[in-house]
Every structure is written in C-alpha cells, then in structure tokens.
C-alpha cells in the first residue's frame, strides 16, 4: 500500500524525479509537493484505485498530508468497507 501511494506521488506530482528525497512522513503541503489542485488528484486516485468514497469532513491534512498518513487512511477506509469494527 505504502509503495503504491509512493509510486503515485512520484509519478503524478514529481514526474518520476525520485532522486528527490521523499520520506514517508514528509508533509506534502510543507514540501510543496501538492499544490491547490494536487489534493483533488490525490482524492481521485484513492477513490478510483481503492473503490472507497471519502466524505467532506475526511478531507483534512491529518488524513492526506504524507505517504504514511494516506496509506493509514486508505487502510482504515478499506477495513470500514469490509465491515471490520474499528
């Protein structure tokens, strides 16, 4: 999962320039990786690839602002979808 998210971020926002140091905990906002439209692309990626739907109040940096956070967020969504109690 973490690798899939990382690959998406590198391909889609860094255009494959992975020589740039990108740690799993780096903030997308602070490092400028995601601009004002990037977050919409990220949401579209999560919703399409993992077939989950994201509510408006979930669209916060706490869920979406690093590779780590996005991966954990997707895990939670998938578990909720599968009916696993959280």
């Amino acid at each position: 999962m973490q690798n899939e998210v990382r690959q998406f971020v590198i391909d889609n926002f860094l255009f494959g320039q992975s020589d740039r140091q990108l740690d799993d905990s780096d903030s997308f906002l602070e490092s400028g990786i995601i601009d004002s439209t990037g977050v919409l692309e990220l949401i579209a990626f999560i919703e399409t690839k993992y077939q989950v739907s994201i509510a408006d109040d979930e669209l916060v940096p706490a869920n979406l602002d690093s590779i780590e956070r996005v991966s954990a967020f997707i895990e939670r969504k998938l578990q909720a979808k599968a009916g696993v109690p959280q």
């Binding site: 320039q17 004002s36 439209t37």
Partner: protein
Amino acid sequence: MCGIAGALGLSGQPINPDHVERMVRTLGHRGPDDRSALVDGEAALGHTRLSIIDVANGQQPMSTADERYWITYNGEIFNYVELKDALLAKGHRFTTTCDTEVLLHLYQEYGADCVHRLNGQWSFAIWDTHRRELFLSRDRMGVRPLFYTKSGNTFLFASEIKALFAFPGVDRRLDAQAVDQFFTFWTALSPRTMFEGVFELPPGHSMTVAGGQIRTYEYWRPRYDTFDSTLDADSAAERLLELLVDATRIRLRADVPVGAYLSGGLDSTVITALIKRFTTTPLRTFSVGFEDPQFDESSFQESAIRYLDTDHESIRCTASEIGRVFPDVIWHTEKPVLRTAPAPMFLLSRLVRDRGFKVVLTGEGSDEILGGYDIFKEAKIRRFWGVRPDSKLRPILLRRLYPYMKNIQAQPEAYLRAFFRTSPEDFADPFFSHLPRWELTSKLKLFYSPELRARIGAFDPVHELRTKLPESFAAWDGFSQAQYLETAHLLPAYILSSQGDRMSMGHSVEGRFPFLDYRVVEFASSLPPHLKMKVLNEKYLLKRAVDGLIPPNVQKRKKQPYRAPDAVSFFGPNGNTPEYALELLAPERLQEDGLFNPAAVNRLVTKARAGQELGVKDNMGVTGILSTQLLVDQFIRNFRYDHNAERGTPVRHRQLPVRAER
C-alpha cells in the same frame, strides 16, 4: 504604427545597406505599407510603415528641413496637435500633418528632455548627423517595444529581436538565467531577454549612443510615495472619469477608422462606453468567444453590445485552433509563455485586419493601475487573516478568491486554509503578495535538465529582483508594492507585449490603451489604496466613476480574468496532437536541446493525454515547456530572417552624401 531598426558602427565603420534591409524585411508584419532604409556612413535607420496619420506624407525615416536630424519611429504621440501649436508659436515650420514630424521638431527644440512632454506610446531613434549621436527612447509604460544588442563593434536596435538576428554575425544563444526568471515570474525581466547579449530598453528609459559609448537612463517610473488624502470618493471618481474621457478622445486621433475590443469585462466595456457617449466616432467592436464555457464571456459581451448599441463581430475560438497557430504566436512573442492566452488575441487581430481596421482601443492596464487583480485581493485576505491566525471566521473570505477557478473552488476547507496560511512575520517581506505565485511557478523547475541547472548555477531570480527595487519601495504599503510589481514587470513584459503589441502587430493592427495615458496612471497612483479596492470590491473607484454608463450586470459581475484553454490545445481528448508538439517534446529532441528532462516531460505529456483535467501547475508546465522548445526551434536551431520577408512592399534605399567636414 510601424517597425523600426537600425545600426551604428561604434568605431565609425560604415554600415552595409543590404544588412539593414535584411533587418527591415523581418518586420513586414508591423508595417506593410512602406519599407525603407537610410544609410549615413556609420549609421543606418530602417523603417516599415503602417500608415495611420497623414497617410500620404508620413514616410520615414524622416528628417528636419536641413536634414540634420533623422528619425525612425514606431508609435503615436496623442498630444501632437497641442505640441505642434506650441512649436509653431516658437517658429517651427512643418511640411506634413503627422506626429512624426512634431516629434522630430520637439527633439530639435528640447533634446532628450522632449520625452517628458509626450503623451503617447513610442519607441524611436533619432540620428543627429552633426554630433554623430543616436538617441533612442521608449514610452513610460512599455507599450511599444525596443531591443538592442552589440555585435562585434556594431550597435543594433529594432522593434523585434528577429530583426537583430537578421544582421549578419549576431549570436543567437538562450540565456539560462532568463529561462529561470521565466519559470519564476512568468517572463524574463527587462533589460534581460530570453537571449544572451540581447537587451530590451526598459519602459520609461532613454538611451544615447555616441563616441563608441552606450548610455541608458530612466526618465520615468511608477511611484506610490504620497497619496492625496484631501480627495473624497466623489471628487476622485469625477476626476477619474474626466481623465479617462480625455485619454480616450485623444486616442481616437487617426486618419483611418478605429475599432475597440469588447471582452464583456468591466474595462473594455468602459472604453467602449466612453467612445460611444463622449465622441462622435463611428465604432466597430470585436471580441473572442470560446467553445468551452469556463472561458467564454459571450453573455456579458452581448449585454454590453445591446446596452451600448455597437456594430459588433466576434470569433469563436477552439482549443485545436490555438494548437494550430501556437508556433506563429511564439514567432511573434519571441519568448515562451505559461498560458496560451495570446493565441486567441492573435486570431482576433486577424479578423480586425481583414475587416479593414488598423487601430483598436482596449481596456488594458486598468487592473494594474486601479486595483483589479485577484492577487491584490488574495494578499489582502492573507494579511487580514494573518493578524489573527486562530480566527474561525476570517479564512471564510478565502472562498471569495478565484471564483472562476473550478479547482480552487472545489478545494476542501482545510486545504484552502493550508495553502493561504500566513503569519505576521511574513508581512514584512516586500514580495508578500507575489511569493505564493512565484513559489508555485518555480515548482516547474523540476523539469530542468542537469545541464540547464548547471548553467543557471547559483543564480536566484527572486534575490536578484530584491536588489533592483526602487529605493522607496520598502516604504510603500503592501497594496502599492503589489501594484508596482504588476505595473513595472508583468504589464510590459507580458500583457502589453506577448498578449498585446506582438499579437496585434502580427496582423498589422495597432493597440491603444486609454487606461495607460500617463495622466491616468499618475492620478491612479496618487489615490489611497482603499479607493481602488474598497474592502474586497476591486476597482471600486472605476465602478463608481462609470455608474450609469455601462450595463449594471457588467458593472456588478465577479471579475473573470481573460484566459484560454492551455494543455488541452495540444493534448486534447480528441487525440489530435499537432505534429510540431510531438516532434519538439520527443525524448531525443529534448535530449539534444538539453533544457528539460525527457523522462519527466514524458510523464507530464502522458498525464495531459490521459484526458483528466489538469491543474494550474501542470497546464503551465505543458505550455511553458512547449513554447520554450518552439522558441529554441524558431530562433536558435532553424532561424530564418526571411521567414515572412515577402510581406510588404520592396525596401526603398537612400544613402546620404558623405559630408565634407567629416
């Protein structure tokens, strides 16, 4: 309106007339009505003419009766009637009715200081055959272009860079630091151009070349040092209207019919209204409409046409048409662009020319001088919120920004806040208003190749700009600082050139801009900022001044900046990518040109082709990279000085006799 060119041998060596002819021939589009070259030993002046005033007698280069002073001139001096009266009273005698001759006599009378008396848009060169001195000048706001370079021991100048490159032996190399400025500020900053060793005479500057020395100096600049606090809103609005009416009136002086662009926005509607209400000029208006509703303003255009009862015609612009003409657009801009917005203006000027019009009035400049841009509003909201970063209510204002940008409006609340978050420490930065824009644009540097990075080295464009600000800049309020950055840089270097002069003159059409009358500009900069943007109401004073003159829905509408489809013009959903784009963005070609990383560009192209809507940054990336590649292709790899040399009449030659006293 015309094209000018010329050369001066700095050690007195004579100029070959054929070389000046080559320069002149590149500028056929600027002046299809007459072309000529004059050589006087070490000096040469070339000219291509678009006849507007005194069509029969205004040929150039023109001289004083004694043939001491010779001029080659591009532009209009709108107050030439008044200046001529004053010169007649001083004993000057005239043989034509055109403004060129007035300018020549004004120089004879006042020398270099004559520019302070001019109200107009100009670039010109005057050759003094006695003192063997060349004087060049460019208008205050940078409406008309003027470039120069030194090749060996020859000084060269011209309206466009292509004319300089036509002179044998001039080097054509891309300036890596200019590329870095472009991917920061959206343009190279004058005097730099995209080419090493080629410079622009900045707006508000004059220059003398004599005795082998080149001297450049500033005679005017926008200032925001003191505000007139005695003015109340009503009298300020009244004064503004008075000035605008007169600025429009004198810009209708022409011996050919005059048209206007009517975009449906506030500014062009105001200009059209002033022509209709305060003059008797028969008026034709022109506009661009778009297939894509997010860019189209046809409904506002229609209400303005109805309300003002103008004879109107428009073109409907498609993305694929933009893609098709884009190489021609870059041939004329002579610099890369991050937006395709110049292309529809190029198509529009073709319509205007085809209808037999040589002159159009437009609303350019109003946003800069009267406070219309969203970037001013954005800075104001960020400041207001930054004072109380914990406020829950203040950031709600962020929703008022960029109402026309779907992607921004779709932003989750928390993200919108994160993007615009500011703290009071940031307020002191003189670039507070513009840093977010420049930082976003700089993200495109990700596409640079290692070679380009190496050529740019430690150069930091933002730092360099800090060292070049006017002395009093730091003392100005934030609103004025932002206004200065727009007025002194992006206005001349993009709006008036890439989107203005170069697009209209590409089809032999001259633009005139009443908002950029220097009296209007100086009055506007004496106004306190709250009269320009009242709370968050942009161009407040202008709206107040024209109350009742324009349709209420245009007066009250949300500002929508003029934009056009970008990446989709090259990589649309229909899959029709122009041949040149495939060629110039192919990995082998990118590798050879050495500017951009082929793998990264390839991923961007793949993303653009996938058909999903691209964000601002990616759109700018596609357009900026492709236009840079086009620039290299047309001006460095495959430059042809006779690219469109067949346009216009044969070049007339004249050689002055060698003087005995030399």
